[in-house]
């Protein structure tokens, strides 16, 4: 993995396609990925690039908690890239969906078009920002910060094009699912043991005039 980016650049046959598998059987809901991401990427207060949604099901004493670590799905067919009027949202050769801070004008169209609500307007920079799989770490042959920090190794990162990589093996052998497959975006973040309720139970609607 260490020099896969260079080989991709030099026109080698193997081109990586980064993806992630989140094994929810291992996730303990400690929010370490969330904190590490904020630290690594200097994410301002009130904004998250990656977070863990936590729900509680059932009635006391029979309750159970489910977690859903959420991040950009780095879709194969990203809506945000299609709708961006100035080509600021783009997809790299290796599948990472990123925002070019020099091109972005902050119109927020991609934010309203993303079915996963993973984009935010950076309050200081005035541009759209989102998870980019810590591209600078990946380019150096490292794993994204959240993957590195996960104490139970619930997040697994790797090259989906490499059949021997752990992610490719998991996607091939385990029953995996993606978020909102009906949107046709083909997410490349896979979940093992995803609880449907983490998507169905939603936060309260809060309108401007409610406050």
């Amino acid at each position: 993995m260490s020099n896969s980016h260079e080989t991709a650049k030099s026109g080698d046959k193997h081109r990586p396609r980064w993806g992630m598998v989140i094994d929810l059987d291992k996730c303990i809901g400690c929010h370490t990925c969330e904190i590490t991401c904020k630290e690594q990427n200097d994410v301002p207060l009130g904004i998250w690039r990656s977070w863990v949604k936590e729900i509680e099901k059932g009635r006391y004493p029979n309750v159970v908690r489910s977690f859903r670590p959420t991040l950009c799905n780095h879709c194969e067919d990203p809506v945000c890239v299609k709708v961006c009027p100035v080509h600021a949202s783009f997809q790299r050769e290796d599948g990472i969906v990123m925002v070019d801070p020099h091109l972005c004008v902050g119109c927020r169209y991609c934010m309203s078009a993303c079915p996963y609500e993973v984009r935010y307007l950076h309050p200081q920079k005035g541009i759209l920002d989102k998870c980019d799989f810590c591209h600078f770490r990946v380019d150096e042959g490292l794993k994204p910060a959240c993957v590195e920090a996960c104490p139970t190794s619930a997040r697994i990162f790797g090259d989906l094009h490499d059949a021997d990589s752990e992610v490719a093996q998991l996607v091939a052998r385990k029953p995996v699912q993606t978020l909102k497959p009906e949107m046709g975006t083909e997410p490349r973040v896979y979940y093992i043991g995803l609880d449907q309720a983490t998507m169905e139970i939603k936060r309260e609607v809060e309108l401007v005039w409610d406050k």
Partner: protein, 299 residues
């Protein structure tokens, strides 16, 4: 059964400024349509409304993009990035061109109209109709291509936007013609014929508009989970006052009754009331559609 233990805060992407922008472009497109009735289509009866229509269309279309620029975080950058780094797949890209071409065309059309050059006025008037349709229709596309929201992602959205634009534009023209005739002419007498004609057009456009809303909602109520959720949110939930009362009852049904019943239509007071209510209702429609359409959480 269950509750959220932890979730993060989300930002609202398209705010009220976008609603106002859509409202103003709608008014502009509507008044442009009225101005072309006489010069473009030869309906001589509407000639007194033409000059007013084109001036209003240009002024509103100069005002409208200001709201757009206020919404954009980098307004100056957006002025040229939209043209230089154009993405042909994005609806906003086309908007950038339309927002330049349509006012330009309207200005040329207006100049020929004020110079009384019938031939060129007709040419630029007819040329302006597809532009006016596009400049407002594309705003419907912007929302419809935001596939994440079930409320927006419908093929009806551009058509709904066009009809709401025309009704609000006609209401505004009715009001403006009445004010001008009553206070700014020598005779101080309102041109009954033109007001009556516009009110009738308004009535039929309102019928189509209500029919489109009915189509939209009847299908939304039968669609997937999120579609049903948003329909319930609009009809019975927190947005019910905005959608049912403001947009449809005050904005469309009451004005429809006033303009369709000849006895009521004859009263200037009721007609002014209908036009004002309709304009308020369409503003509510913009807010309900833009802000309400994305109020429900997605994940």
């Amino acid at each position: 059964m269950g509750q959220i233990v932890y979730d993060v805060h989300y930002q609202t992407s398209l705010g009220f400024l976008i609603s106002y922008y859509f409202y103003l472009t709608g008014l502009s497109a509507g008044s442009f349509m009225i101005s072309t009735l006489s010069y473009g289509f030869g309906m001589e009866k509407y000639k007194p409304a033409s000059k007013m229509g084109v001036v209003t269309a240009v002024l509103l279309l100069m005002l409208a993009p200001q709201f757009l620029l206020m919404q954009v975080a980098w307004p100056v950058k957006s002025l040229w990035h939209n043209f230089v780094y154009l993405n042909p797949l994005s609806a906003i890209s086309y908007g950038a061109f339309l927002l330049v071409l349509y006012p330009l065309n309207s200005i040329i059309y207006g100049i020929f109209m004020f110079k009384d050059n019938k031939k060129w006025t007709k040419f630029f008037g007819l040329l302006g109709i597809p532009l006016a349709l596009a400049v407002h229709g594309y705003t419907g596309w912007i929302l419809a291509l935001g596939i994440a929201r079930d409320y927006w992602n419908t093929a009806l959205m551009p058509i709904v936007f066009l009809f709401s634009a025309m009704v609000s534009g006609i209401s505004m023209m009715i009001l403006m013609i009445m004010i001008r005739d009553r206070f700014f002419t020598k005779e101080k007498k309102i041109n009954r014929e033109i007001i009556d004609g516009l009110a009738k057009i308004l009535g039929w456009l309102l019928v189509v508009d209500l029919f489109l809303v009915f189509c939209d909602y009847s299908i939304l109520l039968y669609s997937g989970q999120e579609g049903q959720e948003v329909a319930h949110f609009m009809l019975f939930g927190k947005m019910a006052f905005g959608f049912v009362v403001m947009e449809n009852l005050i904005g469309k049904i009451i004005p429809l009754i006033i303009v369709m019943v000849p006895k009521l239509r004859n009263s200037y007071f009721l007609l002014v009331l209908a036009a004002v209510m309709n304009m308020i209702g369409i503003l509510a429609m913009r807010i309900v559609t833009v802000y309400g359409g994305q109020a429900l959480p997605l994940m």
